[in-house]
Amino acid sequence: MEKVGAVLVAGGGIAGVQAALDLAESGYYVYLVERNAAIGGVMSQLDKTFPTNDCSMCILSPKLVECGRHLNVEILTLSEVVSIQGEEGNFQVEVLKHPRYVDEDKCVACGVCAEKCPRKVDNPFDEGLSKRKAIYVLYPQAVPLKYAIDRDHCIYFQKGKCRACEKFCENKAINFEQKEERIRLNVGSVILAPGFEVFDARLITYYGYGRFANVVTSKEFERILSASGPYQGHLVRPSDKREPERIAWIQCVGSRNINQCDHSYCSAVCCMYAIKEAVIAKEHSDRLLDTAIFYMDMRTYGKEFEKYYNRAKEESGVRFIPSRIHNVVEEPDTRNLLIRYTDNERQVIEETFDMVVLSVGLQTPRSLIEMAEKIGVSLDSHGFCSTSSFEPVATSRPGIYVCGAFQGPKDIPQSVMEASAAASSAAATLAEVRGTLVREKTYPDERNVAGEPPRIGVFVCNCGINIGSVVNVPEVAEYAATLPNVVFVDQNLFSCSQDTQDRMKAIIQEKKLNRVVVASCTPRTHEPLFQETCREAGLNKYLFEMANIRDQCSWVHMNSPEAATEKAKELVRMAVTKAALLEPLREVELGLTQSALVIGGGVAGMTAAKELSAQGFEVVLVEKGDQLGGNARFMRHTWKDEDIPTFLNGLIRSVEEDPRITVYKNAQIKAVDGFVGNFKSTLVVGDGAGEEVTVEHGAVIITTGARESQPSEYGYGEDPRIVTMQEFDRLAAQGDARVKEAKTIAFIQCVGSREPQRPYCSKVCCTHTCQSAVRLLEENPDREVFVFYRDIRTYGRNEDHYKVAREKGTLFFRYDVEEKPRVILEGGGLRVEGKDHVLGIPVTVEPDLIVLAAAIEPYDNRPLAQLYKVPLNDEGFFLEAHMKLRPVDFATDGVFLAGLAHYPKPLDESIAQAKAAVGRAVAVLATQRLQVGGTVAYADPTKCTGCGVCEMVCAYKAVHLNSETLTSEVNEALCKGCGTCVSSCRSGALQLRGFSDPQIFSMIDSLSS
């Protein structure tokens, strides 16, 4: 059967959007099918995201817009997949498209229809905390920004008359005659990214959700915090709109609970979002807000999570109370809420809160379970899509892939990672039809603006109320109109929304603007978006300038609206002044080497190499040791109890036999030259004065791994019966008597993790310990297994291991970091002394074997970091470009990351990340040409005196002195545009395009005018 170069992505949340963009960038046509009237998913409803506290909408919106405007992404909203026929490479997907009753081509989202619509309904986007009309847009930045009629509530549909919207719609966009459509799409592959729903807290009656007005779910609380939410970001409680003074969070509502809801799993994200909500709530509150989180285990296992938790405790003063809450009682008069719990001293304490937030878990919706059955994709016992650890994004049906929370409860970065992985896997099966169905973006010819006097258009953004509630936007706009060269001024509600973008485009053309200034948020996130709009309007994208009147004005001067307005005006004036001096810049196209280098021959590295090869790219795999396999060589089972050695041997063999993969063992990177698309790395192969090999490659994936640390505590090294996890696995595999004959085994958790020297959780140890406990007890039920722990962090479905370990009789003792268990070696015996946290009495265990959950620590990554110009975090792990939305990218183009070098993680996550890195790398490699130039330096030979200081200061070897003319020349392909040479040039011969001396001086001058 012929393969088809198109992919269907089901689900338009962040995972679906990422998968769609990756595929579209790497040469496939994408149908993005979304159930709702707009894409964005749950992430669009969130206020801030942990652990960076980035505004969720702010970082999501550019991706949505990119998706919305991408030539190779076709968005089908109000649509759902009904059936999938065919097989890998060639599927026929039937999609049911519900009527919108609004013609998308005609609707301009002016909002008159909603204004006139007499029917108010609960707004599901605000979780029912606010009202919307029966004709609605999902949210202000919705993509596509088109109204839709909610048939179930529309008076016309329900009662046969009204049609007010139709009457008032100027564009005649309302169409009551629209019918359901069944669309058949032919695609090569399908990616399922349908997401999750939150647990229905009504089912747990004793917390009173649904009965007590001030008991809300965490998702409702996100909306309450959100500036675009039901209360405009004012933190008030639902019953009386009064600002709360005390808020409690109750964890594990609908998670880790088999009595009320049959959800034994941990939802993996609630601990972090609860901490984040508490911290943000405190920031929102004018008064000293008391926040208390009631939890069973605090599961801050991800990158930078533990530090976030510590800061919440120490700096923000969030209270953390380890107690499961039995019930919530409402005081009828005040509608305050009473919570009873036991403290550390086992005293019963009663506390009153103004609000209680239920940290509701994630689950697969019923409808999805039915759909999975229909399309022949099997689910696990928890209702999540079942996948193997070794193919973490492949469903049971070949050619259909999965990512996001449908694969298992998870956070945004993990979802994004899996999305790129799923995209990569889908692409790998369709490599030979890459590029067959894509359309090329053609921009209108760039208008030649040379010689024209500047005609500047200024667009001042309200950013909903983010700017407008502090800065007087009309005043700023009025002021902008008085500035020289300004011929047009407009105010936008959301400059980044698609309709505004379209309108800006029209205005640029209509008003013959040749410079555009947007006064809104930060150019770091939004400049590319507006530049794209300029291009689409036939304007060189460098004729664009931004004034940041939100992040650096309205948000930081909330209490001084007048001063903020004055400042905004000056920022606009500065931007307009610079804009007048902007010049169109050209970008040059370069060829690129369509191959990759993978550094590190562990499972992540080998997976990346295999995946790249499957996509048709040559790979060089470099391993510093003498064999492939990395840490997996010491591992026995995945958390799903799959056999690792069998998998590993197969993987190693297939890598070594792959004709597209060249493996260098005992090899290290010595020097790196070049840049994205055209790297040249020099390897030294062999010991001592090894042979040098030069590799040319377009991208590089760093998968250098990490290692188990050597404990310095708990008597490690003093007795052969005190071992680390990795040693324990090896001994167990070898049938060593120390394990085989051990009757009593003690595990000690967090050995070297969550300590000042390593303020992070090593993520894999708790699961490994529980799994090991179960195996030990299965081998011999007479054994006694003890676990000393701080929090058991068996996140997600790993929780089952914890549950089974307890059921089989493992005894768990929680310890405090101030009061760690003590290991005593005495008279040839081992003793562990701790404390029973439930009974508060000392516990002494005399084990035959002590297993220490030693921390995972990074290798010395500094040399590699320097060579490839990428950063490390404080602990020495590589630091990705953005912790939320670019989890496998570096800020430096063409360099990607996967595996333990990023952060400790289990095997399946490493594999997913490796595939994700390939997905991202292929987006670079699949393009035949590379755009460079733009903001680069240039030299004026008539001014250059040839002193050579520019050459001396350039870190990229982009400037050199021409030996003939003795003047400087800039290689635009190598220049990164930092401007260090420019400011070092005494004679003014060097300038930086887009940041020239005249441009910067003009901004300075404009300050005093």
């Binding site: 930081v556 000056e570 401007g979 260090t980 940041f995 300050l1007 005093s1008």
Partner: protein
């Protein structure tokens, strides 16, 4: 006389922030809603290495009361070493400027990372206070002469 004016006088401060660290730090301060004095105006430059000391002089001559230049911490420069060269230039320029009589608190330098929203807010607070303490720029301000 000046002391009387100082009561309601608010200094104008110009900051030059590198795109990758300090500008991002300033954004983070915003995202975190950290409040700081509104006296500061920010010019984004790609790297502290782009910073020509002439910009500082131009700002002061234009009547700006204080200048802040901020870049990535040593070792963090997005362009590897731009901030190191910047540091050398600033060392020399600051010494010279102060030698010639410009007050010490007029021109400030800091390293603020993309993660240091709080530090950014704090630096702005400190710079604003330092400049306020000096009073309006008097010495190195060029009388505006209309040039045709």
């Amino acid at each position: 006389m000046e002391q009387q004016n100082a009561q309601d006088w608010e200094p104008k401060i110009l900051a030059f922030l590198c795109n990758w660290c300090s500008y991002a730090g300033a954004d983070l301060a915003g995202v975190s809603r950290l409040q700081y004095p509104p006296n500061i105006r920010i010019i984004r430059i790609p790297c502290s290495g782009r910073m020509n000391p002439a910009f500082i002089a131009a700002a002061l001559r234009n009547g700006v009361d204080g200048v802040l230049v901020s870049g990535c911490h040593p070792g963090d420069c997005h362009y590897l070493s731009g901030n190191y060269f910047a540091r050398r230039k600033f060392t020399v320029f600051k010494e010279l400027l102060e030698f010639m009589g410009v007050e010490e608190g007029r021109v400030h330098f800091s390293w603020v990372s993309a993660a240091e929203g709080e530090k950014f807010a704090q630096v702005v607070q400190e710079v604003t206070e330092a400049v306020k303490a000096l009073g309006p720029a008097r010495h190195y301000v060029k009388e505006k002469i209309e040039v045709c």
